[in-house]
């Protein structure tokens, strides 16, 4: 069997498919789902479809680069995977390593392994008493995917010996999953499905800005950690104790609070109320500038960049009572040179005037229009902005404690990219295409070794500090783990003091 690299161009989109260059790296074509499977129901999972991701960066364009292979994965687990970070987070205990944490040892891990190419097995209800046990298991099994489940009343690995009903989820981070595939109807960058590009990545940026603010300001959650899913989406893990102990009902309520349903052909009842709820007002204030800079112009998603688009996707959606605006502007814009942003302002102004809020004398229409129609029109520009920008949540992921979600720090087998932490304050600078692939990480390690031999630098504590992962993992440590541990210490101290005070009473 020939072992040469078979570099494949995907004829449909002209982009580089993940290439196989060694006999062991037959991943792309064997990653098909094996449906004969096992005790798991797929509904528990955040499913990734098997579509290639459009890749645009320099690194990926080096067509010969291998981004993922079982060999590379093995090396990643052996040298780079941040077991200590994962453990010290999931243990929720600042006194790391030697102390046993039930929060860690009763956590469900599930692993997807490929014992032979093409065969895929999910193993559920794994749990590990120590970081060392976890490390050993991962090094041995080399899972292509690791999912994190809930923290149970008992160690999940004992599930077979436990009586029915004894294994109950007792804690779980509140999680959110946002995926670009849910934006297909408003993506006009050419991407569909699993493809992404920098133009549509702004939807993720907007989602982080809206949700992060809401979670912190409204719900008072302080320990929110964001991750790139490795492919086309982002995950949020809210780790405050109050969040971890929420009931399913409460999770549902929080997720629904962040969900905006807009009027559609099937549902004319708009859920927006005026004045806008403060959380929606805040979202609107964040989103409208994005809408103007990234949705309207041709350099973005082009909503106001061509007569076809503005007619079909904007003017035609004006409620019946405002149809006069549509025909007026359609004519006006047919041959003028205003920018998309100016067109948007014009449009809003026309709506305001029509419903009698434009200042000056009220028009005849404004006087005769029904309150309902006025409200409908007043909503409309907000709805437009929300339709094209508001975060689209997969709320089923958030609703129950039991839902499995891909573990941070895994590698997406399709892209080879690491599921890295994202700092919400720096979301605007985050570039998914700059996230290292396994192939690149190995090169970085080699480069480091070469220069280190010459320069005699002090040896870093972790191997990942020798690579670009450092730029993702260290801020996670500093901005997320440290404050989390600080709060746990404070909480423990308070409890100890309380207990001491109680004893003093007797």
């Amino acid at each position: 069997m020939p072992e040469e690299s078979t570099q494949e161009q995907d004829p449909d989109n002209g982009t580089t498919a993940v290439a196989a260059t060694s006999p062991t790296s037959a991943v792309t074509n064997v990653y098909a789902k094996d449906n004969s499977n096992k005790e798991i129901t797929n509904e528990d999972f955040d499913m990734d479809e098997d579509e290639p991701m459009q890749t645009e960066t320099e690194a990926a364009k080096k067509s010969t680069a291998v981004v993922f292979s079982p060999e590379l994965l093995k090396m990643y687990y052996a040298r780079l995977f941040p077991f200590d970070l994962l453990h010290s987070w999931l243990a929720y205990s600042p006194n790391n390593n030697n102390s046993q944490s039930w929060l860690f040892s009763r956590r469900e891990f599930s692993m997807t392994i490929e014992p032979s190419p093409g065969e895929e097995i999910y193993i559920r209800y794994q749990s590990f008493s120590t970081s060392q046990e976890l490390t050993t298991a991962i090094l041995k099994r080399r899972p292509t995917k690791i999912d994190l489940g809930a923290i149970f009343s008992q160690a999940p690995k004992d599930h077979k010996t436990l009586q029915k009903g004894q294994l109950q989820p007792v804690q779980r981070e509140l999680v959110f999953d946002i995926d670009l595939t849910d934006y297909d109807d408003i993506r006009h960058c050419g991407c569909t499905g699993a493809q992404i590009c920098n133009k549509c990545w702004v939807f993720m940026t907007m989602a982080v800005e809206v949700l992060d603010g809401g979670l912190k300001k409204d719900f008072g959650f302080d320990h929110v950690s964001w991750f790139y899913s490795g492919r086309r989406g982002i995950h949020a893990w809210i780790c405050d104790e109050t969040a971890r102990t929420l009931t399913n009902e409460a999770r549902n309520a929080v997720a629904t609070y962040f969900e905006v349903k807009l009027a559609s052909d099937n549902n004319k009842d708009v859920e927006l109320h005026l004045p806008l709820h403060p959380s929606l007002q805040r979202a609107f204030d964040i989103l409208e500038p994005w809408f103007i800079s990234d949705i309207l112009p041709a350099s973005g998603h082009g909503l106001l960049a061509s007569p076809e688009r503005w007619k079909k996707d904007l003017l035609d959606t004006i409620p019946e009572a405002g149809k006069s605006i549509a025909s007026l502007l359609e004519k006006k814009w047919a041959n003028d040179t205003t920018t998309p942003a100016e067109k948007w302002e014009q449009l809003k102004k026309h709506v305001r005037v029509l419903i009698g809020q434009g200042g000056g004398a009220k028009t005849k229409t404004a006087k005769t229009m029904s309150t309902k129609d006025k409200l409908r029109l007043e909503h409309w520009p907000i709805e437009v902005v929300f339709r094209h920008t508001y975060p689209r949540l997969d709320i089923n992921v958030s609703k129950t404690m039991n839902h499995l979600l891909k573990s941070p720090f895994c590698v997406h087998p399709k892209t080879g990219r690491v599921c890295v932490p994202i700092q919400p304050e720096e979301i605007r600078q985050f570039d998914p295409f700059a996230v290292p692939t396994l192939g690149r990480l190995m090169e970085e390690l080699d480069d480091y070794e070469k220069t280190a031999a010459m320069e005699e630098r002090p040896k870093p504590k972790h191997e990942w500090q020798k690579t670009s992962l450092k730029g993702y993992f260290e801020p996670f440590q500093k901005a997320f783990l440290e404050p989390l541990h600080k709060e746990i210490r404070k909480h423990d101290k308070n409890q100890a003091e309380q207990a001491a005070a109680m004893r003093g009473d007797f």
Partner: protein, 496 residues
């Protein structure tokens, strides 16, 4: 006697108005109880049962009204109000009957959940009907105090938007409440409160929701406690022995004796009730049996499944009202609101009450075989003989203990392998119903062509076997056999 286990003690339990007023017709709405202290009364066992049934009548009425189109209509509310006033006529009866049912229903999980949902709905309904005075007292019961005027003043800009437009002018004297957001979940979900740093700010007009939530939490905790510690909480064991069978009896009769739908008088219709559908699976062909299993497992059925199974149950005599009750109970992972909003429509649709308003009839086998194949792990519809491979089918038959020998199962699998789905289904029937004498007397028409025929025949067979009140019905069925065209069933039967 003391019917209940230990319950968290609390101070004042009954928010009410002075004695003289509570004797009026609507006493049930003037005194709203938390039921956090068990009554200590002597009563006869007869009375005990009467009380239980009175409250049950109220809760069942509530369940039906909640599930009907008239849920929010004045008529629906008035009817409900009337039942409540009539049945729970005194505060004592209200309290005692609550505790009897609480004890009886604590015996099994599904019933605990049913009781919790409907007692909470009852509590909520009474609060909604109550006047301001009662409401204020109820807030006090739950230690819910209005937001401090100073804080209210500071937040007025924000809070004002919670009030209806026409109320804006009076907003400065409005009362607001501040609670952890977890106590106001449905208001949070609908963004009908302000949420700030984990606290929900709520206008007085929405406080009912909070109180109902708190009530639910208390009741849920005490039900869990009862379930763990037993009804009598370790008290006098001879009393326990005496009471236990009685409670068991109430517990079982409560869900089983469903009122029979008026328009369906046949013996089968009377058998198909929300409570006994799960028990009737052994009379269902494999497609419907797997549907019920799937429904129980997922606590949900997806669109095609709802349609296929819903129409089958309808054909089997389940009324719309009962279907709503049955499916809502089965979809037990969701809140009443969610059910109402997302699913009850589709059940009504099945009965022709929504959408095109055409009453659909149950799918026959070719409809099922040719329907859109299941494509999702949560899909349980379709014909299992067609959708399953023979391995999976064999395992399923074995796990359901179908047939007395492996040969029985093999016969079914063989027919399936040669793609004779209808005959495989018929073979299943034959294996399950081996008494040739009985088969002579019932209609085996259309088995293998229509799941409802299978079901009907299986029930008729059981009637024959148990020699019950079947004589008259058998005659009717017999007449049907004679008059109807021979279908695949008959041919295969005689060749067997």
């Amino acid at each position: 006697m003391n019917v209940v286990g230990p319950i968290k003690p609390s101070s004042s339990l009954i928010a009410g108005i002075p004695e003289e007023e509570s004797s009026s017709k609507n006493a049930a709405f003037k005194q709203i109880q938390l039921y956090d202290e068990a009554p200590q009364v002597e009563m006869s066992l007869d009375q005990f049962e009467v009380y239980a049934l009175k409250r049950l009548k109220v809760l069942r009425k509530l369940e039906r009204v909640m599930n009907s189109r008239t849920a929010n209509s004045i008529d629906g509310k008035n009817a409900l109000k009337k039942t409540i006033s009539e049945e729970l006529e005194t505060p004592e009866l209200d309290q005692i009957s609550h505790f009897i049912l609480r004890a009886a229903y604590s015996l099994d999980e599904e019933k605990r959940r049913w009781f919790l949902t409907h007692e909470t709905a009852l509590f909520r309904f009474r609060l909604e009907q109550a006047d301001q005075k009662v409401l204020t007292k109820s807030c006090k019961m739950f230690q819910l105090t209005p937001l401090h005027p100073k804080e209210a003043q500071e937040k007025m800009q924000l809070l004002k938007m919670l009030l209806p437009h026409d109320n804006n002018t009076r907003s400065s004297n409005q009362t607001f409440y501040k609670v952890p957001f977890t106590q106001a979940l449905d208001l949070v979900a609908k963004r009908q409160c302000i949420v700030e740093r984990g606290f929900a700010y709520i206008p007085a007009s929405k406080v009912v929701s909070i109180l109902a939530g708190k009530f639910r939490m208390l009741l849920s905790a005490s039900l869990a406690h009862l379930a763990q510690n037993g009804i009598l909480g370790g008290s006098n064991s001879s009393e326990a022995e005496r009471l236990h069978p009685l409670l068991q009896n109430i517990n079982s009769c409560l869900l089983e004796t469903e009122p029979i739908s008026e328009e369906l008088g046949s013996f089968q219709a009377s058998m198909v009730t929300p409570g006994n559908v799960p028990k009737l699976v052994q009379h269902m062909p494999l497609c419907m049996r797997t549907m019920q299993t799937g429904l129980q497992k997922d606590k949900k059925l997806r669109y095609h499944g709802r349609l296929q199974y819903g129409l089958f149950l309808k054909g089997a005599g389940l009324s719309l009202e009962d279907a709503l009750v049955f499916f809502q109970r089965s979809f037990s992972n969701m809140t009443a609101e969610q059910w109402q909003k997302e699913y009850s429509y589709s059940i009504r649709h099945t009965y022709g009450k929504e959408g095109q308003k055409k009453s659909k009839s149950a799918y026959n086998c070719s409809g099922i075989i040719n329907s859109q194949p299941p494509s999702h792990p949560g899909d349980h519809h379709g014909c299992p003989y067609k959708e399953y491979d023979s391995d999976k089918l064999s395992k399923l038959l074995q796990s359901l203990k179908i047939g007395s020998t492996p040969g029985d199962r093999q016969a079914i699998v063989n027919l399936q392998k040669s793609k004779h789905y209808n005959l495989a289904c018929l073979e299943h029937f034959k294996v399950m119903h081996p008494n040739q004498e009985a088969l002579k007397d019932i209609s085996v028409d259309n088995i293998g062509n229509h799941p409802n025929a299978w079901f009907r025949a299986s029930l008729a067979y059981k009637e024959y076997e148990t020699g019950g009140a079947g004589a008259e019905n058998n005659e009717k069925e017999g007449a049907l056999v004679a008059g109807s065209p021979k279908a695949v069933a008959d041919v295969a039967m005689s060749s067997a």
